[in-house]
């Protein structure tokens, strides 16, 4: 039977032995395959990866899987892409955890999520790896903490098209972008150390994506320091268009709060607030609202920013008789409007914030986390639930219990095949026309004999 396991219960089951789930540890040693362990694993299992070098890509299409590196005397398990493998870990399942791995030399991403909810990505080291280091996409409710990432040609940590994510206690350096929050709502970026990237923290909207908004983002208590690395992003990528030397970029995102950060030594500007015009040569999207609205800039420590600004910024600043870049640059249009606010503005060098209002909010003590208490509800399909899912997904499209649809009613099939599930299993592999006034059933021979038998037994047991 399909069970909807509340997220909290599932996490609990990882700690406590729950009789219905029977979580197991699966050991992987040097020379063995992590993917092999994933293939064997079921919901709740923990895959323990021992020190060694693992030259593979791992795909997790199951719910409730944990991959945990085992670090012994400073020896880590290393996933090695050798510059030829695509991604190190790609998950689609819900309730996925990956931790304690070193990942290096992949062409694509180190850790990528595609629609898995309730993810945890922590204690990983990602070095010199392709496009993104950590990139959950289309995920709801996730935690990214205590990771160290460097040498990424796009964003080290890229939260793209997600809801409810905390990113905290990470170190990102020598990347093009440190941490990106893009087309995402409800994100807390806290206590991270972003240094020596082209730009440190970026909160923005990319036009042309199916999810159009970024709002409710808090950047708090981060070190954003010396982000002056020359841009080495791939041609055509969004970040390849970001000028070097910027601590924080807020582009088109709404309701962003910046508080308690130490932002220093960024040579173009400490923070840039801008609309979508900041990025050129990208196909426009009428469904993406281009303006940054309702920015809240609270107390931050900013100094030594703007020492050597890029030409555009230098030209802007010259209009204010300055050759240096500012701590805060509100660039054009709505970025300069009074729906944005600031406190203690006199402490910073700035451009374009004259109209910003005084913030009513003075701190963010009320915001503890953006995670969803109890986790995002997610349909966890158990092994037992598979057959029911198959019946409902495939068979029930044509067979109703006691009504004629495309196929005969399940009741009549039950009468015809009483005690003979094998008869159904055989028939559906290669159906032939039996009834003059019903279409021939599409063959299901691609289902294994066991699956056909399972679903046949299920069909005989349906009671409504």
């Amino acid at each position: 039977m399909k069970k909807i396991i509340p997220q909290g219960l599932l996490w609990l089951s990882l700690i406590l032995p729950a009789p219905s789930l029977m979580a197991a540890d699966i050991l992987v040693k040097d020379g063995e395959s992590i993917q092999g362990a994933v293939n064997k694993a079921s919901t709740g299992d923990v895959i323990l990866v021992h020190p060694g070098t693992y030259k593979e890509s791992v795909y997790v299409d199951k719910d409730g899987i944990t991959i945990r590196g085992v670090v012994i005397d400073g020896e880590w398990p290393v996933m090695e892409g050798e510059g030829v493998r695509n991604d190190a870990i790609l998950y689609s399942g819900n309730d996925f955890t990956v931790e304690w791995l070193t990942i290096t030399h992949y062409k694509g991403n180190a850790i990528m999520g595609q629609a898995g909810n309730n993810f945890v990505i922590r204690y990983n080291r990602v070095i010199d790896t392709g496009v993104y280091g950590i990139f959950p996409q289309f995920g709801k409710n996730g935690l990214i903490e205590y990771n160290v990432l460097s040498g990424i040609e796009d964003a080290a940590i890229y939260v793209g098209m997600c809801d409810n994510v905390d990113v905290r206690h990470n170190e990102v350096f020598d990347n093009v972008a440190g941490i990106e929050i893009e087309n995402t709502r409800h994100a807390l970026v806290e206590n991270n150390y972003a240094h020596d990237n082209t730009a440190g923290l970026l909160v923005f909207i990319t036009p042309g994506l199916p999810i159009k908004t970024t709002y409710d983002v808090v950047l708090r208590n981060n070190f954003v320091v010396n982000n002056n690395t020359a841009n080495f992003g791939a041609p055509g990528s969004i970040v390849s268009k970001v000028p070097a030397g910027i601590g924080i970029v807020v582009m088109a995102a709404d309701d962003v709060i910046v508080e308690g950060n130490i932002i220093s030594g960024n040579k173009t500007a400490g923070m840039v607030v801008t609309d979508l015009a900041f990025i050129t040569d990208i196909s426009s999207d009428p469904d993406s609202e281009p303006n940054p609205d309702r920015m809240v800039f609270l107390d931050n420590l900013m100094f030594d920013n703007g020492a050597d600004p890029v030409a555009d910024v230098k030209a802007l600043m010259l209009t204010q008789f300055s050759r240096s870049g500012p701590d805060i640059l509100a660039n054009l249009g709505s970025a300069q409007e009074p729906d944005n606010c600031i406190i203690n503005r006199e402490r910073y060098t700035s451009f374009g914030i004259k109209k910003w209002s005084e913030c009513e909010r003075k701190d963010t003590k009320d915001i503890v986390s953006m995670l969803i208490p109890g986790g995002a509800p997610s349909e966890v399909v158990t092994t037992e639930g598979r057959t029911k899912l198959l019946y409902q997904g495939i068979c029930a499209g044509c067979h109703a219990y006691n009504l004629r649809m495309i196929g005969p009613p399940t009741l009549t099939v039950q009468a015809l095949y009483l005690n003979d599930p094998q008869g159904i299993a055989d028939y559906i592999a290669a159906p032939h026309k039996v009834r003059t006034d019903y279409p021939t059933m599409p063959p299901q021979g691609h289902l294994s004999p066991e699956l056909r038998r399972d679903v046949a037994e299920y069909m005989l047991s349906v009671t409504k």
Partner: protein
């Protein structure tokens, strides 16, 4: 008082008339058994002579003796039923009096060849739909027929040999109703070794009530013309 009488007579009809053969029927059945025991023929025509007393010379049936018409039933189905009577999977239930008669008669047929011979003879009768004796809501019957019956018995109740589902159109409506009730009540098709009978036994429990069963059969009757 009137209602009590009505109820009582319904009860009597249900008990006696429906499932318990009357004197004339018993007499005819006994004569058939006797005739078959004496003849020993394997000729279909000769064998059928014993059947004709109840089912009529042309297989047209005789409602008075509760003998259904045979002319509208398919040969493969008649054969299976005769074999079923012979083996005892049909006509053994204590409440199936007419079935018991047929079981006795079928068992006096010499062998399977005799069964085939008599069925072959019946197969040559000209099909002629049995007369309508029931009234019902044909539209409603059609809905239920289409949903639950048609997938085996066919869109025109023409039967489907691949599924061993007999034609129903043209068969006496009173007989269909009685047999349906037998299936529903476990008088027929209650034995799992009677595979096809048991299938119908399961389906006999899927119509919501007797009134709707009546409607379905009225609809089937309407398909005969």
């Amino acid at each position: 008082m009137k209602r009590l009488v009505l109820l009582l007579s319904v009860f009597l009809v249900a008990c006696s008339n429906d499932n318990t053969p009357d004197v004339s029927s018993d007499k005819a059945a006994a004569e058939a058994v006797q005739a078959l025991q004496q003849s020993g023929s394997v000729d279909g025509k000769a064998l059928y002579a014993a059947c004709a007393a109840c089912h009529g010379a042309q297989g047209e049936g005789n409602p008075g003796l509760h003998a259904p018409s045979l002319a509208n039933q398919q040969d493969w189905y008649l054969e299976r039923q005769l074999l079923g009577f012979r083996s005892g999977v049909r006509g053994s239930h204590p409440e199936d009096g007419y079935g018991a008669q047929m079981q006795a008669i079928a068992k006096t047929l010499a062998d399977d060849a005799a069964v085939k011979a008599v069925v072959a003879y019946i197969a040559d009768f000209k099909a002629k739909p049995a007369a309508k004796t029931l009234e019902g809501n044909i539209k409603r019957g059609a809905d239920y027929y289409s949903n639950l019956c048609g997938s085996c018995h066919g869109p025109a109740a023409e039967g489907n040999e691949k599924l061993q589902s007999p034609a129903l159109a043209g068969v006496d409506d009173w007989y269909l109703l009685k047999q349906f009730n037998h299936f529903r009540d476990g008088i027929r098709g209650a034995d799992q070794t009677d595979r096809y009978g048991y299938q119908m036994g399961m389906m006999g429990k899927t119509l919501p009530n007797a009134e709707i069963a009546n409607d379905v059969i009225a609809y089937i009757q309407s398909l005969a013309d």
